[in-house]
């Protein structure tokens, strides 16, 4: 069953991408075209086939010695942020209706 505009609006909310009404129409068409492209996957009988999540299947638990190495300084880490206060990233209220500070 094709996705409806309402379905796509729900996905956009989950993906945190605000879409205008016109964009939602276009996106709905695109999503349904793209999903149709995936149909061949549904024709397989995949019982007993193990999934491959990574091309280096046998590589597990890559670790290193537990030693301190240099990372970004605080100033470097904050340098690309738009809104910084008191050596921290500053964000608006997490809950709606709250105070920004």
């Amino acid at each position: 069953m094709p996705l409806t505009k309402q379905d796509v609006a729900g996905i956009a909310e989950y993906a945190r991408i605000a879409l205008s009404d016109a964009e939602l129409d276009e996106m709905t068409d695109y999503m349904n075209d793209a999903i149709e492209l995936l149909d061949p996957l549904l024709e397989y009988d995949l019982d007993g086939v193990e999934p491959t999540f990574h091309p280096i299947g046998e590589l597990v638990n890559v670790t290193r010695d537990d030693v301190v190495t240099a990372g970004l300084s605080l100033d470097e880490a904050l340098a690309n942020a738009s809104n910084v206060r008191d050596r921290a990233f500053r964000v608006p209220a997490i809950l709606s209706g709250g105070d920004e500070s």
Partner: protein, 498 residues
């Protein structure tokens, strides 16, 4: 007068070592070539003149002090703009990262610099590497040097165009589903996607983490092999847990004979709908040339390859959604002003920071990872990935390398294909290689009989057979007339060395 575009990487490094010209003269010649050519190719997003002249001065000082020079000493290189380089912005050709200053240097970039290369700047791409035209760059499209009305391919279109127009000797690109090999084919240069894990991904902005691989583009197989030496020097990168030790001398076996070795062809692929006749003819001619060099041609099958597009667009979209979730406007990237809540700030920053294709891919990924849909598509795609990998194992039991087209057509005019799903289908020859984590290379073989535009053919090898792949690529290069070719309307324009 010699233009810098006429020289190979080895000739440039040797000329500097011998005192025929200085690294600073080479850097100035490359800057001059960029100044006189890039207004038409529009391959660059940033030209790093200061970094280039500083690096060149360091090379000249090392020579003056009598030090041995590294193998890429003074060679002009540039980097796809999803690779961090301190002192430049890393924009991914997106408004989202328009003002992002690199916080560190990517390992692949650093290794090119450690090998002595001179960094000329950052190259255009499809936004966040989503695309195969470079038209989705938020800043401007790039043009194919062989016909500037046409796309250079993508997503590493700036990398391929800069090399094809002779603006730099070597460029780095990244390849998630063909994004090095396809633009290399469309622009008539050599483009290599190394084995997954051969080159560190640290500092390359992630698209599909289990598929992405950085690699070199050049006008000669030898230049690409030299770049592979640099990229793998030092072995495994502790900053990328998927990187593997792959250090070796890729030049050592470049001119080995291919007599008695086997090249697999897949007859069904050459009969596929949508394959342009001139590309079919060029691929068949390449098989004949390899046979003339003594290789045995055998027929093999990759039965699940046609469905690799379906698997790829599930895996790549899901991984992209996961990776691009980090762009919320808080720590870096575009931030929408005046928002009352964090949720509103994220949604509007992402809505106004990302272009249409970046939004489409993330929306598709978000849907495919949602509850109930995951099992139907994502898990199925990972299982089909197992089948594709098995197909390759069986094919490589019969053949040393596989030969096939790269792109079903030569370069097309800007805007000629506007349907995103139609563009996805053009990736059919390249994406299964990423799904299996193998190595692949596009080698320019001729100009199309109908179009007079470059055609590349693809060689694919098993994982960590990158040196073998280069041997076959060199054999093909020797048989063709494209080695070192600069697009005719750009060759020798500016860039004089003395």
């Amino acid at each position: 007068m010699t233009s810098v575009d006429a020289l190979s990487a080895r000739q440039i490094a040797a000329g500097i070592a011998a005192g025929e010209f200085s690294a600073t003269e080479v850097a100035r010649a490359a800057l001059d070539a960029i100044a006189s050519r890039d207004n038409q190719t529009r391959a660059f997003l940033q030209v790093s003149e200061d970094l280039a002249l500083t690096a060149a001065a360091r090379t000249d000082a090392a020579r003056a002090a009598g030090e041995a020079l590294p193998p890429l000493a003074g060679v002009p290189v540039a980097f796809k703009d999803n690779m961090n380089l301190l002192g430049t912005r890393t924009t991914c050709a997106s408004r989202m990262l328009e003002s992002y200053e690199s916080a560190y240097t990517a390992t692949c970039v650093q290794r090119m610099l450690d090998a002595g290369a001179t960094p000329l700047g950052k190259l255009n791409m499809d936004e966040f590497a989503f695309g195969s035209t470079t038209d989705s760059s938020a800043f401007h499209p790039s043009n194919n040097p062989w016909d500037i009305a046409c796309v250079p391919g993508g997503s590493s279109g700036g990398s391929a165009a800069a090399v094809a127009a002779g603006e730099v000797t070597i460029a780095l690109g990244s390849d998630t589903g063909g994004s090095i090999r396809q633009p290399a084919s469309l622009c008539g240069v050599v483009g290599m996607k190394p084995t997954y894990g051969a080159v560190s991904r640290y500092g390359v902005v992630a698209f599909g983490s289990s598929l992405d691989q950085a690699g070199p583009l050049g006008r000669r197989v030898e230049d690409v092999a030299l770049a592979m030496n640099a990229l793998t020097a030092g072995g495994r990168d502790p900053c990328d847990s998927t990187s593997r030790h792959c250090e070796q001398d890729f030049l050592a076996h470049l001119d080995d004979p291919i007599e008695g070795r086997t090249v697999g062809i897949i007859p069904a692929l050459l009969q596929a709908d949508g394959l342009a006749p001139e590309v079919r003819v060029a691929t068949q001619a390449a098989a004949t040339q390899l046979a003339d060099a003594g290789a045995h041609i055998v027929e093999v099958d990759l039965p699940n390859m046609a469905n690799s597009i379906s698997a790829y667009y599930v895996l790549a979209s899901c991984e992209a959604f996961s990776n691009l979730a980090r762009f919320d406007g808080v720590r870096y990237g575009y931030q929408e002003p005046g928002c009352a809540t964090l949720a509103e700030q994220s949604s509007l920053s992402r809505a106004h920071g990302f272009g249409p294709e970046a939004k489409r891919r993330q929306m598709l990924g978000a849907y495919l990872l949602s509850s109930g849909v995951y099992e139907r598509y994502y898990l199925a795609a990972q299982k089909v990935r197992t089948l594709i990998t098995r197909d390759y194992q069986q094919a490589f039991a019969q053949a040393d390398v596989l030969l096939m087209p790269v792109s079903p057509t030569v370069a097309w005019p800007h805007g000629a294909i506007s349907d995103p799903a139609a563009l996805y289908l053009a990736d059919v020859y390249t994406i299964s290689n990423n799904i299996a984590g193998n190595c692949g290379i596009s080698v320019p073989v001729c100009l199309g009989a109908d179009s007079e535009l470059p055609i590349g053919v693809q060689l694919q090898g098993p994982a960590f057979a990158d040196a073998r792949l280069l041997t076959f690529a060199r054999a093909l290069e020797r048989a063709c007339q494209m080695e070192g070719a600069v697009a005719p309307s750009f060759a020798g324009r500016g860039g004089e060395l003395r």
